[in-house]
């Protein structure tokens, strides 16, 4: 396989696109970790729910945009419901309890989705007006849909940035991420803040899932695969920090995509092709974890931790 500039550019954009998906999920999750100190393994379930709801609404309304637009508030609602019904009691509990309880939620949601829509993977297609390619550079076509995802990601990142740094709500969120007990003492309505943050996180995850439908397939358990990588993003970026989520997501998205694309051919130039054939994919799948290990070795608290270092 010839490594051309075009190929490198294309894969870089793919890495960015994947990074956007990771960011959308990481943003909500890192805030939930940082402010509420809640380990939520079921975050991937909102991704999945968003994907299924978007598919269902698109079918009902015949419009992809409408489908996604409806899936967002619906997923937010699901998130708020889950928070109120199942998670409120977990805030005071230790991490182990949270891990196990949210693990139970995963089993529940995966099965629920399988009961309603069946276990088989659903393949949706990219909507007509977004399919096809556009001329990024002369001789360099890039799938329009993926470019749209990147655009959406940038918009959301800017929006979140503005929210967190320029609004009062954002101020409370940042304060909460660095010192939870303090904002409670200052009289901020904690329960409302928690529910809002949680709902926002769920909606973002749902957005990622809704957009992911046409690119990846929709099936029970789809949230868990990406969730682990989201964890890596948060660990690298630092818990509680949106900036960390952005940086971490881009880094992980790039590392994973570029690794999968180029590690094997790169290795083939150094060692024998059959060996590269074996080692390439194995190393590629491990690359982001090795990256995580490297970051942790030097900075156990991540690159931009919200709480700072003593």
């Amino acid at each position: 396989m010839a490594i051309t500039l075009g190929l490198v550019l294309e894969q870089t954009l793919n890495g960015l696109q994947y990074g956007v998906m990771l960011f959308l999920m990481a943003a909500g999750l890192t805030l939930v970790f940082g402010i509420m100190n809640l380990v939520n393994l079921a975050h991937g379930s909102f991704y999945m729910v968003g994907a299924y709801l978007a598919t269902a609404f698109t079918e009902k309304t015949g419009s992809f945009v409408l489908g996604v637009a409806l899936a967002l508030p619906a997923t937010l609602l699901v998130g708020v419901l889950v928070e109120i019904v199942a998670l409120r009691t977990l805030y005071e509990r230790d991490h182990l309890d949270q891990v196990l309880a949210t693990f139970g939620l995963i089993l529940f949601f995966n099965e629920l989705v399988a009961i309603v829509w069946g276990r088989a993977a659903i393949f949706t297609s990219v909507p007509q007006f977004l399919s096809g390619h556009f001329r990024m550079l002369p001789g360099l076509p890039y799938p329009t849909y993926r470019a749209v995802i990147i655009l959406v990601g940038i918009v959301v990142a800017v929006f979140l940035w503005a929210l967190v740094t320029r609004t009062r709500l954002g101020m409370r969120i940042r304060a909460g991420a660095s010192n939870r007990t303090m904002i409670a003492a200052l009289g901020v309505d904690i329960r409302l803040l928690y529910t809002l943050v949680f709902g926002l996180g769920a909606a973002l995850a749902g957005l990622a899932g809704a957009m992911a439908g046409p690119v990846y397939s929709v099936q029970p358990g789809m949230g868990e695969g990406i969730l682990i990588q989201v964890f890596v993003v948060i660990v690298i970026g630092g818990i509680g920090s949106i900036r960390g989520a952005i940086v971490g997501a881009v880094v992980v998205g790039m590392a994973d995509t570029l690794g999968r694309a180029f590690l094997k051919p790169l290795l083939a130039t150094m060692i024998s092709p059959p060996a590269a054939d074996k080692a390439g994919p194995a190393l590629a799948s491990m690359s982001i974890y090795l990256l995580m290990a490297a970051v942790l070795f030097f900075r156990p608290e991540g690159l931009f931790p919200a709480r700072g270092r003593s």
């Binding site: 991490h95 089993l107 009961i115 964890f231 890596v232 194995a282 974890y289 608290e301």
Partner: protein, 315 residues
């Protein structure tokens, strides 16, 4: 000498387990021998997790990785015709202990939420590694060429013999485990769990002890993996999937963490429950999920505490 309630419960449990093969033979239900053997193998895995989770407070969500390593340490040599059990099981323990040493050395630098996520991530990394090993079945896994050979009277192809080997290992693990948690080493681990800042202030450097415990737990998990590969005679990367880690963790909690014996009960009950539920409906996980949540919210103490009395929790 007055026997404590706990001793009676333990003796009874041991007796019941020892009687399963003859009873299964008498009633012509070999399935139950198989089932109980499977339960004991997972009990070994759960007990090894309890060591670091219940006593050490280390919420390691990647414990299934060590079972996977242990399983492949049996499967891969067998693939090449090496069926010596001593070699295979020795490799299983050594390889998983080594993996635990590396993973622990990195993960134990963090704590809390990060620790959970990192152990989870590393386990998943090994899972993907397993999938990428095309030679050994990749995604689909592979059949075990033959059960481990030990020579002499120990023929694992005999169901009852294999059963008693597993039982013996479980009992040995429990005996050694009891000594371990009551030793100086065990006390440091438990103190670090109870109040890490205090432990450091009196002069303990907890990292080295925690890492050692992590390695011991990992190695024992590897042994469980080797047993599991022999049990199912088929191994797949799924052994290492993080949902398996969750299951094992659930066994520890359900049975009672920090008791060593509790996880044995937890393994038995959970596997029985899964057996029963899956007979009822293909969608049994939708019932198991909420059960899990309810147990965590309301029955944290675990079954062992209920059955054998309150004083069984180790401080």
């Amino acid at each position: 000498m007055a026997l404590s309630r706990r001793t009676i419960v333990l003796a009874a449990g041991c007796l019941v387990l020892a009687l399963v093969p003859p009873i299964a033979a008498l009633t012509n239900q070999p399935y139950y021998l198989d089932l109980f053997r499977r339960m004991m193998i997972f009990a070994i895995a759960a007990v090894s997790l309890d060591l670091i989770l219940g006593y050490g407070g280390m919420v390691s969500f990647g414990h299934a990785a060590y079972l996977g390593i242990g399983a492949y340490a049996v499967g891969i040599p067998a693939f090449y015709g090496v069926e010596n059990g001593w070699l295979q099981w020795g490799l299983a323990i050594a390889a998983s202990a080594l993996a635990a040493a590396v993973i622990g050395a990195i993960s134990l630098r963090t704590s809390g939420v990060s620790f959970i996520m990192i152990t989870l991530a590393f386990a998943q990394m090994l899972y993907y590694l397993g999938i990428s090993l095309e030679t050994y079945g990749g995604d689909n896994g592979m059949r075990l060429a033959g059960r481990s050979r030990f020579g002499g009277p120990i023929d694992l192809r005999e169901p009852a013999v294999f059963y008693y080997v597993v039982l013996a290992l479980l009992v040995l693990l429990l005996v050694l485990g009891r000594r371990l948690v009551a030793s100086r080493f065990g006390m440091v681990i438990r103190a670090a769990k109870s109040n890490e800042a205090r432990a450091r202030a009196i002069g303990f450097s907890p990292f080295r002890y925690k890492l050692t415990a992590f390695v011991i737990a990992g190695g024992t998990g590897g042994l469980a993996g080797a047993l599991l590969a022999n049990q199912t005679e088929y191994l797949t990367p799924d052994f290492m999937h993080w949902t398996r880690s969750g299951e094992i963790m659930f066994m520890v909690i359900l049975g009672g963490m920090g008791t060593l014996f509790g996880p044995v009960i937890g393994a038995v009950v959970l596997l029985l429950l899964e057996d029963l539920l899956s007979a009822l409906t293909a969608h049994w996980q939708i019932i198991l999920g909420p059960i899990l949540i309810l147990v965590v919210l309301f029955a944290k103490r675990g079954l062992f505490g209920l059955v054998a009395g309150v004083e069984t929790r180790d401080g």
